[in-house]
Symmetry: D2
Subunit: 370 residues, 4 copies
């Protein structure tokens, strides 16, 4: 009797069923289990209390979508071998494994290796342990595999990663702006000349997807208070580094994968709670502020804030959002008559003007008056 | 202009809006913010990965339901003053504040004061800080307030606590068995002779509520694998205590509220990760098992398991579930003609036989063969 | 390129995709399209305004569930040929095709052939038109096919019919009591000794299903006001028959399939609107009452109402509900060790006492005082 | 004891509770009950089988939103008397009462009075029957009431009508593109200088609302197959008129409110079923096509289709969609500092270029080859 694991997932109103022993082995790997202790959205829970969901659940969710996408493509006659299916599933399952705690915030201070590189290092190490079982997965992930559409399912403007996180982040924050007709989009996927495309009937759903992403940007990912909280965390880590203090063995002079793999959100938070009692008043004060959610005020503007003092409590910065990237390969729509057009030409609603538009906002944060 | 806080809550498909300055002050209290770092369902996330939700979100959710319940009762002509409304809201907001990390599991090992007592201690201390603003809330919580139905909204077989956690746990686990028509039940609440009752039309919803609770018991709260994980955690804490090891200042010889209030899930998890490297092989092995989710096998039976060895890796125990408690005050239904009947008589579906039924299960856990 | 039809269905948060040309042909058949004009729940929309959903949508929904169930069974190694898959799908798709307008109410007055018989007649006629394409479907429907579990998927205590209508009726009425973990139940289906069974892990979901059905009975299917409305409709049809009036060619002296197949809800409603202006005061008054929703009062009791006058405006009756039928084959649970037990023995919650319980209610309706 | 009516509504995951006797009387009016027999989206159910919802449910849904909006505004200190509340509720409740069956399609053929005028006539007649109880409601509806923001709640670019129908149509079609954060938008409403505005924090939700409406246009309201079906219906009514045939007393030489008020979807459908047997081959053929859903092919283009034959089976036309109307009053956003800006200036995402964009599509329909 084959082992089968059924994992509940509230997002897709159902569950994920896994019976491939190789995939089950990867899920059981300590480095994968570690992602249970890393929140998908870092400090966002300080604004949206439901947003406690982990990278672990996102990676399984993306696997779920990949399974469905591969089924749809095979039903439409796209040739994909069993080995390639497994490879694509493993690639999406592991695509975020290199993330550390609060990675978007902490990356530059704690670790100077980008998370994409760490992901690859980890995949390679697991591959060694599993005697090459991830060979195809790594090729797909690195885009060296000859069927390029498989890479596009893992990483492109319409990949299973984005599809899952938009829906998931929307579900757990309670911000309905991110609800996307995931099932519908997936059912419209197709392959044309080794490129992932969307069937004509799916054009509205893709429009919805692009717009939802854009709205989620300001509503959630770049929410004022989240930016403010991130700045406090960043300043804590900077101050600790400047003081040469650490309780969790970071920063390291040289990057050590095994030590990195032991680090998660809990370590950071416990250190910060500990530093509340530090002798350094700047550090202790910043830490008390974060632990007790006394966050700085923050204002947004359309031009840079000039002449403001910058220290551990005050600062400025800028944010960009372009929901659609023309430098990346465009999302393509395939018509019944065989033509293929980029969405910027196919869509009546989202023309080039809209899609190219990049919004930049400048911010200035400073202590709230009590 | 009054300060108003809007807090998103995915469970009720909307949000909670708070503008009472006293309630806002309580929410901002460090002891309340601490509940952001304590998961509502402890280790359940090892089975249901979505179950990362915190006591913080539950307490706000229960406040949300209390607001609606009070509005319904006032609309039906029940006399409740503004002060009493605030009191009832504060009582439900704080009803769980004394919970420590993984409290159902860790209570006996780490702290020998029950969480209800700690809750009262904390409420009293906050009350001092706020110069008596919680007087009525404490009276309602302790059931010394003369309008007893207010206490029943906070603690009874049909209180806002249970209504919220059933729906919330169901939402985050993805187990639909717990979905309850919360809005409908609340709209059917009424008061009769100073007792909280349910209007006749709400009888089916109450039946659903009782049954849902029962189903959630075995499906979630007493899920085999969750029980197994709890036993590992318990054995870790026991072993650490027996070895006289601690990194988080517990157990204490005497209970200290302020030190207790600094403790949360993160401290326990970081300690356990640390103990993976302990010299004590029992401790390090147990910790590695929990961190990497290598949980013991567990089997359930209807009679006690006899003659099995018990140590840090093997053990037995028993579980009870009676979804409805006849020793507690019964849920009462009020008919149009003025009569009031306990649900055990009013319900055609759930007779005394069903309601009295107590299910006991015995379990035996032991290391999985590899 | 194969023709593929995608049909949106709000109930399953997605859609149904059909590409089998035989199934597409059946869906396009006028007798199948007719079910777009027959509401699934008759007059229930007078109580639950959302309950306008049609038998058409139910039959497609049941097809959707059948598709998933067959996939699950095949994945578990149950042998089902492509021809049998198509047969089971066609059987469930057509299982209700013989229903006429408001059939549970009108059956005895308008037509004296039970809807099950008409269904079979219609299936046979379509089969002739399609040169035997429904042979297997008819065998499965009539339980003469040698693999009996296929019939059980169409008609048993846990068939795709019930699974769909419970969820669907719940969705459109807005009564959450009927929400069932459909996906979960289906994923737990299995076959043992040619009998449809449920894997051990699905036991809670089956309990939920049985209870949900019971709750939906009184909350929706036998809602007081729905019963009252049904009685008005019944009395209208009786009076029209007694007066020998008809505008829609019914009742017929002998049953004529083709004429029956032209009849739907709209004909009945237009006739009733027309009869508002009848010279017969009883008929016109009853019709005005139904059209303008002036329904009789109704009271329920646990013993028969004796000595009440009965005419076109007053009457009595009785209702039964036993959610689980011991005379029918029991739902069976299959354990990992191979044993199979009926749910009445397998369930801790739902013992024989609960499952056998039959609730009978008596009702008395009479004109409301104005 | 006051009479209270609770009406389930699956859309808002709850229900509407009404206890105002004047509103209850209006709901019980035969002209209001008639809307139970008029579908909100006409023939759209031929594409989206769930879209059977009625104008009745929409009008109650809009009432539900109005109730919440008025509560929000009063809580923010906007002065609204009890009489004005009732007036605004009655105005929204009745805002669509003048719609006839399939009104957007049939209006020009059957009745040459626009539905807005009929609505006013009906409101006036009911007002007479109720001795002036609708005086304020009619003033608000006609925008002659001195507090103009009350009219804007009933009819403007952000009124309760649009908010309800977008969400409702999305719910019943299953097209997630129309899901709007209704609760959030309503909670952000405010009044500034007698004008309905949106608080700054609601800007993203308004963006979502505008975009959702635009997407729903092509996905649902102007879905190709729906347009094709509408053309068949239109041609049936034209042919019947040209032949001077009618079974439902329309068209009339002069408009008669009482006869109009007896007409609903059922009459049209029964007539069409009847005409399937007409001697006129054009009429009978068109009717059989509609009843059995054999719809014409239709193609869309960006330029007019020239030189195509037009008769009862072939034709051309054009469709416009501008989701936002600059000729109408703009939606205004109110900032914390007191400023008020139109959304076209306030929004970073939706600039004037996007909002002004009008999409025109041309279509050509013709019989499908068999």
């Amino acid at each position: 009797m084959t082992k089968r694991k059924i994992i509940n997932d509230p997002v897709y109103d159902g569950f994920l069923s896994v019976d491939d022993p190789v995939i089950l082995q990867v899920i059981d790997h300590p480095w994968f289990q570690r992602q249970r202790r890393i929140k998908q959205l870092g400090l966002t829970y300080l604004v949206y209390p439901g947003a406690m969901h982990t990278r672990f659940s996102h990676m399984l969710g993306a696997l779920n979508l990949m399974k469905r996408a591969l089924e749809v493509l095979k039903q439409k006659g796209v040739e994909i071998t069993d080995e390639e299916c497994r490879g694509a599933k493993l690639a999406i399952l592991l695509h975020d494994i290199g993330h550390g705690p609060f990675s978007h915030t902490s990356e530059r201070v704690l670790v100077d290796v980008p998370h994409e590189e760490i992901t690859l290092l980890m995949m390679q190490r697991i591959n060694e342990e599993m005697r090459g079982a991830l060979d195809i997965a790594i090729a797909i992930f690195s885009n060296t595999y000859h069927k390029h559409f498989l890479h596009q399912l893992v990483s492109s403007q319409l990949d299973m990663d984005r599809l899952d996180y938009l829906g998931r982040d929307s579900f757990f924050t309670g911000v309905s702006e991110g609800i996307v007709g995931t099932d519908r989009i997936i059912s419209m996927l197709n392959v044309h000349d080794d490129e992932l495309v969307v069937d004509e009937k799916g054009i509205y759903s893709v429009e919805k997807f692009i717009i939802s992403r854009r709205l989620m940007y300001w509503q959630v990912y770049m929410h004022k208070t989240v930016i403010a909280a991130d700045q406090v965390l960043l300043n804590i880590l900077r101050r600790a580094r400047d003081l040469n203090i650490s309780t969790f063995n970071f920063p390291l002079s040289t990057f050590d994968l095994d030590r990195f793999a032991e680090l998660d959100d809990d370590d950071i938070m416990v250190a910060i709670k500990h530093w509340q009692h530090s002798d350094d008043e700047i550090l202790s004060s910043l830490c008390r502020n974060l632990v007790n959610r006394r966050l700085p005020a923050i204002r947004f503007g359309s031009t840079p804030f000039e002449g403001v003092e910058c220290d551990y409590f005050h600062g400025t910065g800028e944010l960009h959002n372009r929901s659609y990237d023309f430098n990346d390969r465009e999302i393509k729509v395939r018509y019944k008559d065989g033509r293929c057009l980029p969405i910027s030409e196919a869509s009546d609603q989202l023309d080039r003007h809209f899609l190219e538009k990049q919004v930049t906002k400048y911010y200035h944060y400073y202590p709230k008056k009590v």
